[in-house]
Amino acid sequence: MTLTAPTRPLAPSRPPAARRAWQKLSPYAYIAPFFTLFAAFGLFPLLYTAFVSLYRVELQTPGDMEWRGLGNYAALLGDTFFWTSLRNTFTIGVLSTVPQLVMALGLAHLLNYKLRGRTFFRTAMLLPYATSVAAATLVFAQLFGRDFGLVNYVLGLVGIGPVDWQTGTTASQIAVSSIVIWRWTGYNALIYLAGMQSIPHELYEAAEMDGASRWRQFFHVTLPGLRPTIVFTVVVSTIGATQLFGEPLLFEGSVSGGISHQYQTLGLYLYEQGWGFFHLGRAAAIAWVMFLLILLVVGVNAAIAGRRSRKEAGR
């Protein structure tokens, strides 16, 4: 294997030992800035949060820490508001993620055709993503107003009575989800579009020669080709859905997520405990539960995706 042997430099500028040491260590030096910052702003807060979650701490008297062990976690098990917010996080997650990804897929498929003004459409799709959560949510809150909102006005035209988009559990969750869908559909569509463009064109030609319709092409060529991209977007959207916070907070400006906690997500419940009631210990416990939940969900996700691709490979 002489071909792959490294070529020796002609004139080593440094003593070989120091050089070798540098070569060994330099990668670490390059990544050090990131990991230093991560340790300070990622790892330390994470561990400190775990520490705080074992105590009873109030923001107003942060000096008096009272040991509670796993008491904060145990209390969460019996806390109906926690379970409500967990359930809300899940239902809002499904209500927002599923339509979002399906619509994104459809949009990407359409944009993949040769269209006039394609760049315009692609840019326009990304615009909601560039809008701030706060601005978008404020506008949506107006649209979903019970008495003077545009949505109810339009529904009224077709004879559907005014819907209380703030108070009803399902209605409010749909309203909150719609903000998420509006903001993220375009972003996901662009990711899908990029994925679609990496699928070799020959596959489509071959399918067309075999007489496959566009619909069948979509199902049998596009979807399998997009699998890694879809897994990626599902993972990212799931993490986003678990952490959902800005939209429900700003929808009515209520830290309780509505008068009956009807759209309070885990993130919002954490905020209510920590900065509404100043119970930092309990808020920290919720933060850790959220962290573990995300790990669990992403782990399950990855396991499913891994099994499927192994099955594919084994075919």
Partner: protein, 433 residues
Amino acid sequence: MPTARAARRAAVRLGAVALAGALLAACGGSTEGASDSAGGEVTITVDLFGSFGYKEAGLYAEYEKLHPGVTIKQTDTEDEADYWKSLQTRLAGGGGLADVQAVEVGRIASVAQQQSDKFEDLRKHGADKLKGEFAEAKWAAATGRNGEVLGLGTDVGPEAMCYRTDLFAKAGLPTDREELATKWSTWEGYLELGRQYKAKAPAKSAWLDSVGSLYSVMIGQQKERYYDASGKLIWETNPALRTAWDTSVTAARDGLSAKLDQWSPQWNQAFAAGSFATLPCPAWMLGYIKGQAGDAGKGKWDIAALPGGPGNWGGSYLTVPRAAKHKKEAYELITWLTAPEQQAKLFLKQGSFPSATGAITKISGATDPYFSGAPIGKIFGEAAEAAPVQVLGVHDQNIAQQITNALGEVERKGTAPEQAWANAKKGVENTIG
């Protein structure tokens, strides 16, 4: 203060963004009361919530003129709830505090009982001699366990009932404020008029804005609300609270409410649309009504005495944190701002009713053309004088929120009152826990 509390939710929205900024700012270095610069140039920082109106009334400019070398810099968070969160974060961290910090009356018990070590005892600067100038209750509430004077009172919130004369006339109800005051001398009388109004009211117009505001104004008439004088939680068994709850439930069941969420954007829009004919109004609400109903509402509103007797809802204090840089100058500023002359000026401009007794006599003859020339000085002055001295508690604000949320469930979702009461109880336990 007043209008700020009012803005509560309307502003959490944008406030959240500001809050993030405030939290970051709070991380900045802490400068423990370093310099009380003797003479020369001083910049006093003032951190408020809502619209105290000092700048608008020209009070800062006047003070700067009287005290050469002093510059006043004001920061303002619109929403009191956000302001309080940010203030607590900075107090916990010990940095980023202004020389003057405002505190709402619903929070003053927390300052007096839990955080007296974090605020300057104003006795050090000679506040003792001011005691006689303020309403007794106002002074007492900002006094710590060991007699520390932790803040000076700005305004109080004597309550009255604001109503729309044009809508009353359309429904064939009397519009004279004296006559109404007699007719609704009790809350039952108020609800009865509401039923008459509902029978003949213009379309899409309800008797009152929300049962939450009915509850809030009724509980404001009580001496003991959530805690008793010894600091024990009594809200659950407090018969007066239960009466306010039951009356609110009745109003909801009789369909007298526009089912709005107080301080929400919908509520704001409803002012212009005439969605409700009456609105329980503490003095500071006047400025809010003018702001929301605008010029179109001028002359359509009037004010009468509150059903069921006088009460108080809201009001504020100015404090000096211990970590402030210019404590002496800050104290001088707040003494001046809360002096009778300045408080009287603010009432005429903003509707914030003075807590300085000397100011009350100055404005007793005031009328307001926006409210059909109602004698606001007399109405609110009498209410302020007769309002009970409230027992304040650490969690007042949070408990009230849980109860009005539960009433909202009865009103807007048709939840059974017993169920809603249970929800409120669970919510309060979670809050205090």
